[in-house]
Symmetry: D2
Subunit: 299 residues, 4 copies
């Protein structure tokens, strides 16, 4: 029995790139957080401290900023991520696989006297858009789009009852409750070369629509409806993974104070929270573990 | 020389109140974080553990939720805060002064097939609106409105040069830079009984307009323009305090890679950051230390 | 081609359990954050909103607190997690697999006049201990121990040079630098029934020792030494995964001010940071994807 | 009625200084977060964008790092803060007042085979030590020491009953509860030239001792005992301000599951929380508003 080195990777995390386009007086802005990871024959760096195959994380950082100028962001962060990942795998000899993860923070134009301003923006913070791109010498190119922290709430149209009970069950069933979540989703593309920004808008619109319009018997049911709608709307998406905290809003008992509370006053709880997670996919979608490998399976 | 008890106060912080209005099928939502503090003859609680004058913080919490139903939020969080503060001072015999601090989180209606939905919202997170209300048996009623974390950026129209230099100065002057901040502001009202939501919209609009349109020679100059514009637009505001981190965006040197960077690629830095703070007020505004006393002067 | 439901799970996250043992005047404390996830035949809840197989997350919460009393924490959080996971799989008919993830916050006894106090503690916050337990009707029982956020720094004994260079490389090699990380690690056990607290102390001690004593040519080399030492010290551990941000400390150039800086004054940078990740394992360790499946592979 | 500029100040916040002492093989470390603020005749910068009196925040940053080398930290962060503040007021002509705020993060030596290591440390994170120094051309020199986030818990020895009740009161009195807080404290010195690190150790020891040993009838009573003990132990401290969240630990009702809970199983709640704040001072302590002025009275 011997002790051996297993999966490993390294890179530069959280490069905060702000790219301004100023070809005309009407500027545009892209605000990104870019992380890189490289995989390949790096055992000597671990076993002997030999760096001869190691492209420093500092160089990866430089590359991220240089590509923001020379390549630009294109039709979406997925395109920029693909350019970076291809470069590392194709141009840097030892690198066998590259993973680029990007967060995008959105801005809207300042409105002054009813007109959108040319070079001033307000950060919106509604959700964070994400992309995760893998280019792999063996398995090819993989693109995952996503979003984080899209906080949704509906004040009616949600029920929860008919559940399994055991000796630890004290919950009362309900036919009308507040349902709220801070949605995380990631969707895998089966094709490249899309107009990424346009696809993103479609996905977000479908997620919101299903949350709003489905009369929900459980957050699970809502997630399924969301996932199915996205796959129906975007043929190039083959799989979507949804992770949704059930942000509990408990109706406050106002009876001791002589007041009725007909779904009007809630306390928004922090912890604990339900956490519901589901995958929706096409039945002919080939599995793609490489596409989802974020960090060598590491915490 | 004796050791004595000085300023003190106590309350319940961060009551997360969500208030749904559902009189019609088109619901409305208010999402608040409410903190209370009471001041008065509480020395016996400190010196001897005698609670006979102490209204428990748990009771304060109950009151916050009960008032969300019986009083409602009215034309703005300032009105709700005033109702709570008046109650504590007028109805609870020992209480001499009450401070209510409120954060409001904003939501926008979900849009489904081009129409705003009746009972589904997306949290916006652009800024947090604040209010701080003090009702004091001696000094009367004080209302401060505010906002936190309004993140603004302009990609041109900002200079910085002509500054004082000493032996530790290495900064180069610039005539074109990115200027960005995450603005915090608080404004004191000289009158009550306003339509608070309408005033808030006016103040935010003026802050954004000045940031966008002033060709800035320093963040100080921009703050002054913001403050003056707010006081000109809202006669009932007598003082505004602005605190603005200078969120540095450093142009990345791409020359080593054979690339030019004409204000196109920046790294958004975390720390350190400049911090610029200024007060703008009417010269006949009476000082109001009680209005600003957040927490017994405590850290 | 059809759209189908894939992997899914649900549970109650972040139950903040504090367990006091007070059989004698010398109390003991365990401070935990417990998350549960159940897997099984929950497709009807998604597809039709049918909850008949769904044990509510509220019931899972109740179970977590009840077991803190009836079972207790035992010789470590791994034991408590196993009890919970076994209960869900064995006692709740539809459940096929349960995942319990636990964070433990540590406390040390207050020292008063040189003596440890019986019932007063200070929270230490040095690192967070973790456990992840899976009990699966098919693949059996899996236990992973771990820690998060153990922040280590050495002010010498670290080099970095001889690395690969390309056209984006500007980094200078160094033979003496500050090396710092905020270590995350997870280790998989090949056996159950251990004295978990004792094993944890051994692992932490070995991680610290290797970081301190290895003259490091790269953070990769340090991680390998750490992992190997843990496997040598604890025969029951078959695999360890390490994830280590390289918390950069840049020497400040004081030459413009006529000062020399021989490794004395650094700026601690926030972002970006290197991120180095490695797995060390026994070559006869059977793969155990179920042990590492945190959340249905979801973000 | 005119609109005028009021209080203002500016500086560089959160300079992350790490200072290594390496005169011998046994290194020492100081890990600081330093913020500067300058006050003086800066109206032209606001009104006209004239920077001729403005020492850039970038220069302030350089000064902070240069002084970490040339002056060092001395017997505590208070001494380092005084050196910086004196420099700005005495050496930079327009500056009338300087405020330096410092956070210190603590590290302990790694222990390897029972011995403390010469150049490796673990960050402890138990509390953050603070200092706030003001040097003012008019009012002189002011030093405030402090700490943040010292989390304390006692599992018995705390009661709460006999409180005022009104129509919103539902709380049950208790004669045995968990009491926990995350203490913030700031203490003002009446003299300079102390051995600051030694004083800090004394203050922390007294705070912990009183929390542990006082049988508490209210958190207010505990704060008073803490404050009085600090002033009795350190004659040079003239005032202490304490701010203590009451971190609620609610006993979980296990009766529905046939279990008794005699103060053994608690849920640690996040929000809301009680917030108790008190000042303890010597009755001959002159008021010192300049000492406490953190940020022009700004939020």
């Amino acid at each position: 029995m011997a002790i051996i080195l297993g999966d490993n990777q390294y890179g530069k995390a959280e490069n905060r790139v702000v790219r301004i386009y100023r070809e005309t007086e009407r500027h545009a802005i892209k605000d990104l957080n870019v992380s890189t990871s490289l995989r390949g024959p790096f055992a000597p760096a671990h076993l002997e401290g030999d760096q001869s195959n190691v492209l420093p994380t500092d160089t990866q950082k430089n590359t991220v900023f240089a590509f923001a100028k020379s390549n630009g962001i294109g039709s979406g962060i997925e395109e920029y991520g693909l350019a970076l990942a291809r470069h590392f795998v194709m141009d840097i000899e030892p690198v066998e696989s590259a993973r680029i993860e990007i967060e995008e923070f959105s801005w809207e134009r300042a409105v002054v006297d009813g007109e959108e301003h040319d070079h001033t923006w307000l950060r919106t913070n509604q959700e964070v858009r994400t992309a995760a791109v893998t280019v792999d010498a063996d398995s090819g190119q993989h693109v995952i789009g996503g979003l984080k922290g899209l906080t949704l709430l509906k004040s009616t149209g949600s029920e929860f009852h008919g559940f399994l009970e055991d000796e630890y069950t004290t919950l009362e069933p309900t036919t009308d409750r507040v349902m709220a979540t801070s949605l995380n989703a990631q969707w895998r593309f089966g094709e490249l070369g899309l107009h990424w920004d346009a696809v993103y808008a479609t996905v977000k619109r479908e997620l919101v629509k299903q949350f709003a319009t489905l009369h929900s018997l459980a957050l699970q049911q809502t997630l399924w409806a969301m996932g199915r709608a996205v796959l129906e709307a975007v043929p190039e998406i083959v799989e979507i993974r949804l992770s949704a905290p059930n942000k509990h809003h408990f109706a406050v008992d106002l009876a001791p104070f002589g007041l009725e509370n007909h779904g009007e006053v809630f306390i928004a709880a922090d912890r604990p929270y339900g956490l519901i997670q589901a995958t929706v996919l096409r039945d002919d979608a080939p599995p793609a573990p490489e596409a989802w490998r974020a960090s060598a399976g590491l915490a």
